[in-house]
């Protein structure tokens, strides 16, 4: 069905501070061909240019500032020049008398800014933009992300028949302004596949496919959404990006890279999502569970978030150097995960772009600097699975309180947690970030330009810091989290640079929507499951992913969401899909990580030879068929397939993965024993069914592509099967070889030629682009 879209003037919600400036001209990527907007906006047009090209020398970093000129503050912009008090940086309305304009448009290269030696330059369009902005009054604004989210009016649209909820009104308003119209809704099969992978990380099984297709009721979709949101696999899926941010791994990292047992913390994350802990609780427990009144063992376990950083076991390191490294990692992880800021840039000097001074960096560092911990507890020979402070989890704990932990044996499991020492450790600014160059002592604080830390309201410890984050008018916490959840469902955040909401980050494509979502999320008790439901219920989410040439040309990155994005599955989910669709998947949740098939010698060729992880000892039986997220991550040698498909190496906090398409990925899908084994097992199962070959092929297609094959596809596959059958019938040795794959029990099937041919077809299906794309 096609919608008829009447052109209509939309009431576009305003970016409040801009007093009515319509923002529809701005995109986050400023193409040079774009025309100059009628009304130039500081936040959307000017600051990105100044930040990228000028702030390095004329920005927040006091030590690097040239000519005592700064362009990142209102004061600095309107100031008289140091060398020539008669002249001003910017005179509103008068570009020809504004030094800023004169210097960026100078033809004399000795006057030109930025200087050619900087390798930076302004485009002609950017110079024009600045000129127009000055002509129009040179109005300054605070950086958008540091202004608390504002209540936004939901744009009215004519198309209530398209919009399913508020998200759609915001999205449609922007689409219209770009002269785009939404795609039709995806067909039910493809929509179900997308939903199922996005919410649980698993393909819809045949029963669910059938049920959904047969359900003609108006709330058929919502029923599936609710069912999936309450599946225990929802928590697993939601946990994956959180494990990236928390740099979770099963080894200590660094040279010798010994074993650690932080997996109970991972089990807690899954539990927290499944129990739908509100985000404020989820955040507070992880940041400061130990500081809550009478902390339970569960609260303490949650603080393991802060201890997932790498720890050295290299004999001979300087203890304090590494202790500082751990505090630094915690501070940076806090900055990126909760604030979406590049805190790490302020470790050695004031931040070059964002208002985070080096002093403020160490003031935040102070919160994480209070542990009674060591840089080096024991070298690899005396390795510990968990360096202090730590707690031990017994079977009794698991029986009584920590029931969600999948504990396998009787031995207590040690887990690293947070515990501040009773005496406050003074924190110094470290000159140039060097551990052995302490400067002035700093108090607990935060970068105040973001949101001030009121010591009357907030305690001077991590709990106070958590409360600060959760303040009603904090500009970042809700936006940053909502944006990352959005990113999981649309492949791209409303702020594309989900790890950088600062001046150098990209501007939000839908600023009003981001604000609306952020406030709505807070106003509804930080309810994560509700947020996810809102997203997947939207018409925006339900669109088809087909793309016309016109849309591809006008919006190649799909910024305006006039189609659903086609996204390759994340690394873990490829394994999940292959195992689930072949029937091999063991749906157990949590527990110690597993060591599935891995090419020989990968750990061995790079190890120092010390510690229990020097050699890879592959697991067997059920442990071969666990979900991808349970693959053992040895930090120095992460599972190679995971890296090939862009998973994080868990070296440090990451909030966004890349999505590449490489020949090595093709080799994995073609030759990985896991994929081959699944092809064999599925083929065997189909062989045992009393059906014809074409029915078997059709069913395999259903399982792997999650839809009915069309006639052309079936014809091709059936023909392929016939051809393979001829080949294998003539070469029984080859057939016998081919069906040997994997350790899983082999069924007694006499017709090896048919089995091998069917396996070949199944294997081909797994290699289709669509199979690993949602």
């Amino acid at each position: 069905m096609a919608f008829v879209f009447k052109r209509r003037f939309f009431l576009i919600a305003r970016w409040v501070i801009m007093a009515g400036t319509p923002l529809w001209q701005c995109t986050s990527s400023s193409s040079t061909a774009e025309r100059i907007p009628d009304v130039v906006d500081y936040n959307f047009h000017i600051r990105p240019i100044l930040s990228d090209r000028c702030f390095k020398c004329h920005g927040p970093d006091g030590n690097q500032r040239k000519a005592d000129l700064r362009l990142d503050t209102e004061q600095g912009l309107y100031k008289a020049l140091k060398d020539d008090p008669q002249a001003f940086v910017v005179i509103a309305g008068e570009p020809e008398h504004s030094e800023l304009y004169l210097r960026i448009s100078a033809s004399d290269t000795s006057m030109l800014m930025p200087p050619p030696s900087s390798n930076l330059a302004l485009t002609e369009r950017e110079v024009k933009l600045i000129r127009r902005w000055i002509s129009q009054g040179a109005k300054y604004q605070k950086h958008w992300a540091f202004i608390p989210p504002q209540p936004r009016e939901v744009p009215e649209t004519d198309h209530d028949d398209w919009a399913k909820n508020e998200i759609d009104n915001f999205v449609l308003a922007r689409m219209e302004a770009q002269d785009l119209e939404p795609n039709e809704e995806a067909d039910k099969e493809r929509l179900l596949k997308r939903l199922s992978f996005d919410v649980t990380g698993l393909p819809p099984d045949l029963a669910l496919q059938k049920k959904f297709l047969a359900d003609a009721s108006p709330d058929a979709y919502e029923k599936v959404v609710d069912a999936l949101l309450h599946s225990p696999h929802y928590g697993e899926k939601m946990a994956i990006p959180w494990l990236d941010a928390a740099r979770y791994a099963d080894s200590h990292g660094y040279q010798d890279d010994g074993y650690r047992t932080m997996w109970p913390w991972r089990d807690w994350v899954i539990h927290a999502f499944n129990e739908n802990y509100p985000f404020d609780k989820f955040l507070s427990w992880q940041l400061a569970g130990d500081l809550l009144p009478n902390p339970t063992k569960e609260m303490l376990l949650a603080t393991g978030f802060n201890r997932n950083h790498k720890i050295t076991q290299e004999g001979g390191v300087i203890d304090e150097e590494y202790r500082i490294e751990y505090v630094t990692d915690r501070t940076n992880t806090f900055g990126k995960t909760f604030l979406g800021l590049t805190f790490e840039c302020a470790k050695c000097h004031d931040h070059k772009y964002d208002p985070i001074s080096q002093k403020e960096y160490y003031s935040t560092f102070a919160f994480f600097n209070q542990l009674n911990e060591k840089g080096l507890v024991g070298d690899i020979q005396l390795a510990s699975l968990a360096d202090p402070p730590r707690m031990s989890i017994s079977n009794e704990d698991v029986k009584r309180i920590l029931t969600f932990i999948n504990k396998k044996d009787k031995d207590p499991v040690p887990v690293m947690i947070m515990k501040d020492s009773s005496k406050v450790r003074p924190t110094h600014v470290l000159v140039r970030g060097a551990y052995d160059a302490p400067g002035e002592v700093v108090d607990f604080n935060v970068p105040t330009a973001i949101y001030p830390f009121d010591t009357a309201k907030f305690g001077r410890n991590r709990l106070g810091l958590a409360q600060w984050l959760l303040s009603k008018d904090h500009p970042l916490t809700s936006r940053v989290f909502v944006n990352r959840v959005w990113q999981e469902f649309f492949g791209r955040g409303i702020v594309k640079t989900s790890g950088d909401f600062g001046m150098q980050g990209e501007l939000p494509s839908h600023p009003e929507l981001l604000d609306w979502l952020a406030l709505d999320f807070m106003n509804h008790g930080w309810d994560i499951r509700r947020l996810v439901k809102q997203i997947v219920m939207s018409a925006t989410y339900r669109q088809s992913a087909a793309v016309s040439e016109r849309k591809l040309r006008s919006d190649p990155e799909n910024i305006w969401l006039s189609r659903a994005p086609r996204l390759r599955l994340p690394s873990e989910l490829i394994k999940d899909h292959v195992l689930a669709s072949s029937g091999l998947l063991v749906r157990e949740i949590g527990g110690p990580s597993v060591k599935p098939y891995q090419p020989k010698g990968i750990w061995e060729s790079s190890t120092s030879g010390r510690g229990v992880l020097a050699y890879y000892v592959q697991d067997h039986d059920d442990k071969l068929y666990r979900r991808g997220m349970y693959n053992f991550i040895k930090r120095t040698v992460p599972p190679p397939v995971m890296l090939m498909f862009d998973a994080s190496n868990r070296d440090q906090c990451e909030v966004k993965r890349m999505r590449t398409n490489t020949p090595l990925q093709a080799l994995v899908m073609l030759n990985d024993p896991m994929v081959l084994e699944a092809s064999r097992v599925l083929a065997e199962r189909l062989m045992l069914e009393n059906t014809q070959a074409d029915e078997k092929i059709s069913k395999a297609f259903n399982l792997i592509l999650c839809r009915e094959a069309d006639e052309k596809e079936l014809a091709l596959l059936n023909k392929y099967y016939e051809e393979e059958h001829q080949t294998y019938a003539a070469a029984p040795d080859k057939a016998a070889e081919f069906i040997k794959q994997g350790e899983f029990r082999h069924e007694e099937i006499k017709d090896t030629a048919s089995l091998a041919s069917l396996m070949q077809v199944v294997h081909t299906l797994y290699n289709m682009d669509e199979a690993i794309t949602r």
Binding site: T497, T660, H763
Partner: protein, 483 residues
């Protein structure tokens, strides 16, 4: 029927299509084909890529023979007779100047100087001092350019290695090879631009880790592809048992047809990219085993590298493989040879390490030379820091150990636009401090990039709001070593 998809999609048959790929495409177009997304936008700093290389390159390819664990400069190339003279005496405080120590020697009360157990001699026209442990390198002294004034900031293996490879001690930055792959693309449509070969020595070893050849924030096509000595030179390269090349070709044809149907439904260009990547994977499956098979090398080549070069996974075999990869156009071949961490038993271990590394390193240089490839191939040999001039642990007549020393160490380079028979930089007579022409790790990186025609200040990638460089915010090109 067979190649219908190609004929439909591209209006040409496959042979024609693949033929077009291999010849007649400009490097930019080829780059974009092999490195999807290279010209597609995203976070890439496109401006910096335009017109790459930045200027005429002297070298086209790099082979980096990394000696992992830090070989002692004092038993190899930095001859210090003063240490033999003062053998056993304490390191004067005026020389040490409060330099920090690792946790391994910081509680030693004495720091007795120790002279090299091995004899030094001058070699070649250039008169380079080389110890008796490296007779083959000594023979090619006039091809080498020694830098005796390397210094680093890190004092432990992990950060020091990471620094040498990625330009930063911590963090997940792209390694040198990834930067070059990003900056210059691939020269060979059948092979990755950045290949990694590992070998274990016979001395005290320190691990290596995939972070060293990471793509960091660059596209993962720039990640180093680790070659292994096992059955598969590249992970997942071999077809499964029971499926031969013919079966594979057929499968790929069917697959391409199916994927093309998907493309017709969705119009997503990623589907076409995937079809191409499967084709490249198929070509790699033929090209890589051919390359890694050294059995067809003539006898005189085997003799040059030594008989161990026939044993897969040895340093000698990797040197030979490095030549073959480089010869086939692999931009950056990175070797890691472990076992150079002689905290103790130096006189026992170092000869074994040298025995493994000396002959084949020299052979590689000469092999490239006889093929006319040395001029365009930069060979680098060295570790992550130096070793102390004083003894760690027991100093007895015949044995001793040396701790980590970041203040000075020696590496050599050859070919690829570097001056021959040269020594650059100088350390004091104690081999403790640099007295002339220091070369920081950032300077070394700037110089290597320069040799490849890249301006280290212009080869940038914008990630999370910042333009990153291999050289971070420092580095200067060491012009005197450039021919």
């Amino acid at each position: 029927m067979k190649n219908e998809f190609l004929e439909n999609r591209f209006g040409i048959n496959r042979r024609h299509f693949l033929g077009k790929l291999s010849v007649g495409l400009g490097s930019a177009a080829l780059g974009s084909l092999l490195i999807p997304g290279l010209f597609k936008g995203g976070d890439d700093d496109l401006a910096s890529l335009a017109g790459i290389p930045h200027f005429a390159p002297k070298a086209k390819r790099v082979i980096y023979l990394f000696q992992n664990g830090a070989p002692s400069q004092l038993e190899s190339f930095d001859y210090k007779p003063m240490l033999n003279k003062m053998h056993g005496q304490d390191l004067p405080a005026s020389v040490r100047m409060g330099q920090r120590l690792t946790g391994m020697t910081s509680n030693q009360t004495k720091f007795p100087l120790v002279g090299s157990y091995f004899k030094f001699q001058q070699h070649g026209q250039s008169g380079a001092w080389i110890s008796e442990l490296f007779p083959h390198m000594a023979k090619i002294a006039d091809e080498l350019c020694f830098i005796k004034s390397m210094h680093t900031e890190a004092i432990n293996h992990d950060p020091a290695l990471t620094f040498m490879q990625t330009g930063a001690q911590q963090g997940n930055r792209p390694s040198m090879g990834a930067w070059l792959s990003y900056g210059l693309g691939s020269e060979n449509k059948n092979l990755p631009a950045f290949c990694v070969l590992l070998s274990r020595g016979r001395g005290n070893g320190q691990g290596v880790y995939s972070k060293l050849w990471t793509n960091g924030f660059l596209d993962s096509v720039h990640q180093g592809v680790q070659f292994s000595s096992g059955e598969e030179p590249v992970l997942y390269l071999n077809d499964p048992a029971g499926a031969d090349r013919i079966a594979r070709r057929k499968m790929l044809d069917k697959l391409a047809e199916l994927n093309t149907m998907g493309y017709e439904t969705f119009g997503d260009p990623e589907i076409q990219t995937r079809i191409q990547q499967y084709e490249m994977a198929y070509r790699m499956q033929t090209a890589v085993p051919e390359l890694s098979d050294v059995s067809k090398e003539p006898d005189h080549i085997i003799k040059m590298y030594g008989p161990e070069c026939l044993v897969p996974g040895t340093y000698a075999a990797n040197c030979l493989l490095a030549r073959k990869l480089s010869e086939s156009g692999v931009r950056f071949v990175q070797l890691y040879h472990q076992g150079w961490d002689q905290h103790g038993n130096l006189t026992g271990e170092m000869p074994l390490q040298a025995q493994d590394a000396d002959r084949s390193s020299a052979a590689l240089v000469m092999d490239l030379k006889q093929r006319g490839l040395l001029d365009e191939t930069l060979v680098i040999w060295g570790g992550e820091f130096g070793r102390t001039n004083y003894c760690q642990g027991n100093l007895d007549e015949k044995n001793y150990g040396r701790d980590h020393h970041p203040r000075c160490y020696t590496i050599w380079m050859a070919g690829g636009g570097v001056k021959k028979g040269m020594t650059y930089g100088e350390t004091d007579e104690f081999g403790y401090n640099i007295v002339k022409d220091p070369v920081h790790v950032n300077d070394f990186h700037a110089t290597v990039l320069n040799l490849l025609g890249l301006d280290h200040e212009k080869l940038t990638f914008k990630h999370l709001g910042r333009r990153y460089r291999l050289t971070d915010v420092a580095g200067k090109v060491i012009r005197p070593v450039i021919a």
